[in-house]
């Protein structure tokens, strides 16, 4: 089989890239996934979307992405297929004085980059999140532009729109390896035969590293297991995603539009643990952390608990764009836990690289694989949902 563009990976990145390319009139795009659509990190994520980061690169990309989320959710784009962007905000709770000081600095950075965050009092926190017990909070950082969306609706909308634009999607087709020669990638080998393409895009999440190894390119990614759970559903209780900044593992909670609460926190983990390998200590850890703010949480039932990978790069920023060794392959991976919110801008960046030669957002150009060779790592220290 031969196609114009082959996208390996049917997570939100691959679909967003396919959609954006197709919208610009590109034909003959094929998306292949080893499993079903969304079976990687995408279907396992918390769907938080925010621009309140601590590096210029992240803030600028996320701001762009939020604008795109708003646009995508309009009826004339993907809104008609059910994609929603629910701008309920984020709040970060500080219970230590030094964190309040840090928040003030962050707010200055955010504001200077056009993200209107501010530090709010415990009373305002209580207004934003009525069922919280705010006594132990010193202050909170409120990001009103942040929000959430709903992963299955989003995927469904992308699939529908992609198919409508003529994109083909092949599921349950793992790419075993890539084949290259003469400075070009030639084909992707699958159990159903080889697929040749003019251009290859690797948006294969936790499978990206192994895939690139098959053509001798090392991408410094680690698959870190992240644990997360969802509870039974209740009437809407509060809108923002709430993060406890000062607790170990930065626990967070968000209510989905169906009413369930998604709750997660970081726990110490070895990379590459199998995804089924759930841990009994996670549940009490995450619940007791959240019960400090929401005592009623001990009274509600957990429906599901699962693990997904944070596909993490050394500087916690994505790896975008071309590689030095081959002229016709592009990377879109290594989001380090933020690839869902980035997806719309990921589509834009990769599309522009392909069609216009370079992305219109200059910060994106700093995020190629080359930065690790050249030692130009980017700093970011707010790595949560």
């Amino acid at each position: 089989m031969k196609v114009n563009i082959l996208i390996v990976g049917g997570g939100i990145s691959g679909l967003s890239i396919a959609y954006t390319l197709a919208k610009r009139g590109i034909k003959d795009i094929l998306v292949v996934d080893a499993n079903y659509i969304g079976s990687g990190s995408t279907g396992r994520c918390a769907t938080g979307i925010r621009a309140s980061f601590t590096s210029e690169e992240h803030v600028v990309l996320m701001k762009n992405s939020i604008e795109l989320w708003k646009k995508l959710s309009q009826p004339e784009e993907l809104g008609k297929y059910g994609l929603q962007f629910d701008q309920g905000g984020y709040v970060w709770i500080a219970s230590k004085e030094e964190s309040v000081e840090l928040f003030k600095k962050l707010v200055n950075l955010h504001n200077s980059l056009g993200v209107p965050t501010r530090v709010v009092s415990p009373e305002e926190l209580k207004e934003l999140v009525p069922p919280i017990r705010a006594d132990e909070a010193k202050a909170a950082l409120h990001d009103p532009t942040a929000g959430k969306s709903y992963v299955f609706d989003t995927l469904h909308a992308y699939i529908k729109a992609c198919k409508e634009l003529g994109v083909r999607i092949m599921t349950f087709t793992p790419v075993r390896k890539l084949v290259a020669g003469g400075g070009k990638v030639k084909a992707a080998v699958t159990d159903k035969g080889s697929i040749e393409a003019d251009t290859f895009i690797v948006a294969a999440g936790s499978g990206s590293k192994k895939l690139m190894e098959s053509i001798g390119v090392d991408i410094p990614l680690k698959n870190l297991p992240r644990h997360i759970m969802i509870t039974e559903a209740f009437k809407p209780a509060f809108k923002p995603l709430v993060i406890d900044w000062d607790a170990g593992g930065a626990p967070y909670i968000v209510q989905t539009k169906e009413g369930n609460f998604i709750i997660a926190r970081e726990i110490e983990e070895e990379p590459e643990q199998p995804l089924g390998s759930v841990r009994i200590d996670f549940l009490p850890k995450v619940v007791s952390a959240m019960a400090k703010w929401f005592p009623w949480i001990k009274r509600i039932r957990v429906l599901r608990y699962w693990i997904g990978y944070y596909v993490t790069s050394p500087d916690h920023h994505p790896i975008y764009g071309p590689v030095d060794e081959y002229e016709n392959i592009y990377l879109a991976c290594g989001y380090s836990g933020h690839g869902y919110m980035l997806a719309p801008v990921t589509g834009k960046i990769i599309t522009e690289w392909l069609l216009d030669g370079r992305p219109s957002i200059p910060q994106a150009e700093r995020l190629t694989l080359r930065r690790f060779k050249e030692g130009r790592l980017i700093e970011e220290f707010a790595i949560v949902g």
Partner: protein, 503 residues
């Protein structure tokens, strides 16, 4: 005539040709602020049904009235707010003096008011064996492991031990060894008594095994308490749940699982309806129809989509003798009614099971029984990563297992309906076999244990399942039973993330 009822009517059965119902002491509790009466030992759902409550909740989005369907904690249509806690499955929650019960209209509010302080800290339980499920399979398994000195914890989600035996009022066949001559619920009581009295067994009621975790931990959730256990072996005997059908009106109160009706009628002595249409002519459909007749209901018809009756001839002959028509090549088209079933439309189907227009027939009734089979509850196996296979004859996806009932997760065993739908005698046999396999593994091979296990295996496979009536179930179980060597090979290809005990 469609049957309408007033709240505070009494659906309890006070005279029955073969059964007498032992009822506990009277208790008073509150239903939406009103004081009502019940008998100790009843579930909240049963007690409410008895006084004429049909609607247990209103659906989340469209606020449609919902009735109870399964009565054994497997379907969630009986969710109510109990003492302030929303989404409580009232069919497996015992009624008690003063308990406050309210219906939910759509989603509940978060339970912000109090209650959190009585959640106790997690406790680590020490035990050799964990048995999950207190039906005939689990009880038999626990008795076998405890007999050989192994410390055994048995957990049961329901507030009573005995599982589905409690709703079985027929006399069992076979030898005394297999409880021949006793009725199902008597066997259940007998097994429960033995288990409760055994010093090696700790029983945790109203406690659910919620997951299998890295390092061989099992999580248990009781009413106000969490436990974690690291057993040397775990036997899962979690039973089965009833299948459902899609048709307009399938969520109307009065559409009930045949097993749900059995629970009300045989376990609690409550008449589930007056005029009944049964869907499905397997053994369950036939038996429950007959039992309803005995309890005083009128069974209008049994519809069966296949060209032939599914259940055994003896059972079909019995209901026919009482004049109940069994309509083969018929299916349910729709059920109608406002707040409870008032009638159903049935329709004939062609050889491809497509409804034949013009053959519709309306039947007035207040109860539509869904008796279309059971699905093994194998969720814990799937979650633990056991290698499973879809086996229609077993009722759904079931784990591969050895003859000794160990699955691909080392130290994890299966017994009873969970291993593939059969019935209570085989559940008890499998339970004991699994228990003895655990004994062999943990306490070393003892001649006496091996001998007993071989005897049971021989009886199960060569005699009990040899009956032509068991052919289908036998074929199902055969197709997922592998040799020890094959199992080792399966494990090589599907390395388990968790295992129990020393290997």
């Amino acid at each position: 005539m469609p049957c309408t009822r007033n709240l505070l009517s009494d659906r309890r059965i006070w005279s029955h040709p073969i059964l007498t119902f032992k009822r506990g002491r009277k208790v008073k509790f509150f239903f939406e602020g009103r004081e009502v009466e019940a008998y100790e030992g009843e579930s909240i759902a049963a007690a409410l049904y008895a006084i004429g409550v049909d609607i247990f909740s209103y659906s989340i989005k469209l606020k449609r009235p919902r009735g109870a369907f399964c009565m054994i904690g497997k379907c969630s249509s009986c969710f109510m707010k109990v003492d302030g806690i929303p989404n409580t499955r009232t069919c497996i929650e015992p009624v008690r003096e003063g308990v406050k019960v309210e219906r939910q209209k759509g989603l509940a509010e978060i339970p912000t008011n109090g209650g959190e302080s009585d959640v106790e800290d997690e406790e680590v339980l020490e035990t050799d064996v964990l048995v999950i499920g207190g039906g005939p399979a689990g009880l038999s398994a626990a008795l076998a492991t405890a007999k050989y000195g192994l410390k055994t914890v048995i957990v049961n989600e329901h507030f009573k031990l005995g599982g589905q035996l409690l709703k079985q009022t027929h006399k069992f066949f076979g030898s005394k060894d297999l409880f021949g001559g006793l009725r199902g619920f008597q066997i259940g009581e007998e097994l429960s008594r033995k288990v409760m009295g055994n010093p090696n067994i700790k029983v945790l009621l109203q406690t659910v095994a919620y997951g299998i975790f890295r390092g061989g931990w099992v999580g248990l959730a009781g009413k106000n308490k969490l436990y974690r256990v690291k057993p040397k072996a775990v036997i899962v005997a979690s039973g089965a749940s009833e299948n459902f059908l899609t048709f307009p009106g399938n969520d109307l109160p009065g559409v009930m699982g045949a097993g749900g009706a059995q629970t009300l009628m045989n376990e609690y002595g409550i008449l589930p309806g007056d005029e009944v249409l049964t869907v499905g002519s397997g053994n369950v459909g036939l038996i429950v129809s007959y039992q309803l007749l005995q309890a005083g209901a009128k069974v209008k018809a049994i519809v069966e989509i296949l060209p032939e009756i599914g259940g055994w001839f003896v059972h079909a002959a019995k209901v026919r003798r009482y004049g109940i028509p069994i309509l083969t090549r018929h299916t349910l088209k729709a059920v109608w009614g406002r707040e409870r079933v008032e009638g159903a439309t049935i329709v004939q189907v062609d050889e491809k099971f497509r409804p034949i227009p013009g053959t519709e027939k309306d039947i007035e009734c207040d109860l539509v029984l869904i008796a279309v089979g059971l699905t093994p509850d194998t969720r814990l196996f799937a979650q633990a990563g056991a290698v499973m296979r879809w086996v229609p004859e077993a009722g759904g996806p079931v784990p591969l297992r050895t003859r000794y009932l160990e699955v691909s997760i080392p130290g994890m065993y299966i017994a009873g309906d969970a291993s593939g739908i059969e019935e209570a005698t085989t559940a008890m046999l499998e339970g004991e076999i699994a228990g003895l396999s655990v004994v062999t593994k943990l306490a070393g091979p003892k001649a006496e244990v091996i001998e007993r296990r071989e005897k049971l295996l021989k009886f199960l496979w060569d005699e009990y399942r040899a009956s032509p009536l068991m052919a289908r179930a036998k074929a199902g179980k055969e197709s997922v039973t592998v040799s020890e060597e094959e199992m080792e090979e399966i494990r090589k290809w599907n390395p388990p993330f968790v295992s129990f005990g020393v290997r």
